[in-house]
C-alpha cells in the first residue's frame, strides 16, 4: 500500500505540492489527472525518489510504502527503486540489444546466472506482451523497434526487477492510438500482480484504465475517489469543470 501524509514539496521557493494525503491500495490502478504544472508528476516521482535528482528541492511529510517511510535515513535508494519501477513519458530504451535492455536491472543488481537472467527476460517480455514480436530478434538493437514496442520494452525492463509498484508518467502520450490501446490493455493485465500509479493528460484514458482517480490543481489534491464517481458525479466544481473541458 502506498500512503502519504501531509506532503509538502518545494522547488526552491516554489510550493509545488500542498499538504497531500492519499492512500493507494495494492493491485489497483490509480490515475492522476490535472492541468500541466499541477504537481501530479512531481507527486508520482516521490514514490521512487526521482525528485532527489533535482537540486534545491525540499520535502516535508511522510511517504510510506507498506508502512515504511521511504525517505528515512536508513533507506537505500537503489533498493527502493528496485521495488518501485518506473515507465517514462517518452520511451527511453538503452542503446543495447533488446535482451540486454530487459536484463539491465538484473545486471546492475549483480545477478550473473545466465540461465536465470534469460528466463527472467523471457518472462518479463511476455508480461509486457512483447515476447511474440521480438523473440526472434533479441540480439537486435532496441532502437529498431517501433515507438509503441519500445515503450512496452521499457515496461518489460521495469518488470524484470520484480517491483511491487509501477509508476507510469504519461506512458502513452508519445504513442499512436493503436500502441496506446496496447499499453492500456497491458495495464489491465499487470494490475493483477502490481500496484500501478499512472499520470495522464488523457481523461478518457484515466477513465478506461483506473480504479481510482486523483484530480490535482495548483499543487493541491482537489478530489480523490473511485474513477466512476470522479467522472460521473464529482463532488467539487473544479473537478467537474476540468473533466468536462471547461478549462485545461
Amino acid at each position: 500500500m502506498l500512503e502519504t501524509r501531509n506532503i509538502d514539496f518545494y522547488y526552491g521557493s516554489f510550493h509545488a505540492l500542498k499538504n497531500i494525503a492519499m492512500e493507494m491500495e495494492d493491485h489497483t490502478v490509480t490515475a492522476f489527472i490535472g492541468p500541466s504544472g499541477c504537481g501530479k508528476s512531481t507527486f508520482l516521482r516521490l514514490f521512487n525518489r526521482m525528485n532527489d535528482l533535482i537540486p534545491n528541492t525540499r520535502l516535508t511529510g511522510e511517504c510510506l510504502i507498506d508502512g515504511e517511510d521511504i525517505y528515512h535515513k536508513s533507506v537505500d535508494v537503489t533498493n527502493l527503486r528496485k521495488r518501485v519501477g518506473m515507465v517514462f513519458q517518452k520511451p527511453n530504451p538503452f542503446p543495447k540489444s533488446i535482451f540486454e535492455n530487459v536484463a539491465y536491472g538484473l545486471r546492475v543488481a549483480g545477478i550473473s546466472d545466465s540461465r536465470f537472467v534469460a528466463a527472467r527476460v523471457e518472462e518479463s517480455l511476455k508480461g509486457a506482451a512483447l515476447w511474440d514480436e521480438v523473440k526472434d530478434k533479441l540480439k537486435k538493437s532496441a532502437f529498431e523497434l517501433s515507438g509503441g514496442q519500445q515503450q512496452r520494452l521499457c515496461i518489460a525492463r521495469a518488470l524484470a526487477i520484480s517491483p511491487s509498484v509501477i509508476l507510469m508518467d504519461e506512458p502513452a502520450s508519445a504513442l499512436d492510438p493503436i500502441s496506446t490501446s496496447k499499453i492500456e490493455d497491458l495495464i489491465h493485465i499487470l494490475k493483477k500482480d502490481y500496484t500501478i500509479v499512472i499520470v495522464t493528460h488523457n481523461m478518457q484514458q484515466a477513465a478506461r484504465v483506473s480504479d481510482k482517480t486523483g484530480f490535482f490543481m495548483l499543487g493541491e489534491l482537489v478530489e480523490y475517489n473511485d474513477t466512476k464517481k470522479i467522472f460521473l458525479s464529482p463532488e467539487k466544481e473544479e473537478t467537474q469543470n476540468y473533466i468536462t473541458g471547461r478549462f485545461g
Partner: protein
C-alpha cells in the same frame, strides 16, 4: 521564380562555395606536400637513420620518437582528461569549484605551446630531474592536450540526454553503474573524436618538445623513457632552417612532412573505424 527562393539559393550558393574553399585549401596543402615529398619516400628513407650530416639517409629515429611521444602523452592526457571530465560533468554539479575548474581549463587551452615547453623544462627536466627525456616530453605534451581532451569529453557527456540517466537510475542502478554501463558507451564515439583531435595537436607540436625531449641528431633508437629522441616536427624544422645544406635537403623536409601527415591520417582513420564499430547499437 519566387524571390525568397532566389535569395535562399544565392545564400546557399555562397555557403557552398565557402565550404568548398575550405576543402580546397586542405587539398592544396596536401597536394603540394605530396608532390614535393613523394620523391624521397623510399624503404630506405623510412627505415634508416639520417647520415652525412643529415643530408642523406632516412628519418627512422624521428618516426619512432614521434610515435613514442604520441603514445606517452596519450597515456598522460587521456585517463586524466576523461576522468576529470566525468567528474565535472556528471558528479560535481554546478558549484563554484566546478566553475573555477572550467575557467582554468579554458585558460590552459589558451596558453601558447612554447610556454608549456618552458614550464615542462623547468618542472620535469630540471626540478624533478627527468632530464631531456621521453618522460618529460610526454608529460609536457600531455598537459598541452589535457584541456582539449577535457572539453571534448565534457561535450560528449553533455550530449547524452538525461532520459538515459533517469532510466538507468530508476532501475536501481547506482550513479557509477549508470556512467559506466550507459553514459560512457554512448559518449565514447564523440570522446574518441576529441582524442583524435588531441593526437593531431600532439604530433605536430614543436615548441613543447624543444626543451624537454627533442634531439637535434640522434641516430640510435631510445632504450628507455629517460632517453632523448628525435621527433618529426622538430626534425622538419631543423632540416628546413638550420641544416647543413638547406637546398639539398629541401625534398627531405617535404618527405618528413608527408610522413607526419600520413601518421596522423592513419591514426584518424583507425579511430574512425573504431568509432563506427562502437556505434552499432545507435539509431
Amino acid at each position: 521564380m519566387n524571390s525568397n527562393l532566389l535569395k535562399q539559393n544565392i545564400a546557399f550558393g555562397i555557403f557552398r562555395a565557402l565550404s568548398l574553399m575550405v576543402a580546397g585549401v586542405l587539398l592544396w596543402i596536401l597536394g603540394f606536400i605530396i608532390y614535393q615529398g613523394i620523391g624521397v619516400i623510399s624503404w630506405e628513407f623510412l627505415t634508416t637513420a639520417p647520415s652525412g650530416g643529415m643530408t642523406s639517409g632516412g628519418i627512422l629515429p624521428a618516426i619512432v620518437g614521434t610515435l613514442y611521444l604520441i603514445a606517452g602523452s596519450s597515456i598522460v592526457a587521456f585517463p586524466l582528461g576523461i576522468l576529470s571530465a566525468i567528474y565535472t560533468s556528471e558528479y560535481a554539479g554546478n558549484g563554484h569549484i566546478v566553475k573555477f575548474i572550467r575557467i582554468m581549463t579554458n585558460n590552459l587551452a589558451g596558453i601558447p605551446s612554447i610556454v608549456f615547453g618552458l614550464f615542462g623544462m623547468s618542472l620535469f627536466v630540471n626540478t624533478l630531474g627527468f632530464g631531456d627525456s621521453i618522460l618529460a616530453g610526454s608529460l609536457t605534451l600531455g598537459m598541452l592536450a589535457l584541456p582539449l581532451v577535457i572539453r571534448t569529453t565534457e561535450e560528449a557527456l553533455k550530449a547524452i540526454p538525461d532520459t538515459f540517466r533517469t532510466g538507468s537510475l530508476a532501475l536501481g542502478a547506482s550513479k557509477l553503474q549508470t556512467i559506466h554501463r550507459i553514459i560512457l558507451p554512448m559518449a565514447f564515439p564523440n570522446i574518441i573524436t576529441g582524442l583524435i583531435l588531441s593526437i593531431g595537436r600532439i604530433s605536430g607540436e614543436t615548441a613543447p618538445i624543444l626543451f624537454t625531449v627533442a634531439a637535434y641528431f640522434l641516430p640510435q633508437l631510445p632504450h628507455s623513457i629517460y632517453d632523448q629522441v628525435m621527433a618529426l616536427p622538430y626534425h622538419l624544422y631543423v632540416i628546413a632552417v638550420s641544416g647543413t645544406d638547406l637546398e639539398a635537403t629541401r625534398p627531405m623536409a617535404y618527405g618528413t612532412a608527408l610522413v607526419l601527415i600520413v601518421i596522423v591520417l592513419v591514426i584518424n582513420v583507425s579511430a574512425s573505424a573504431l568509432r563506427k564499430k562502437l556505434q552499432k547499437y545507435h539509431a
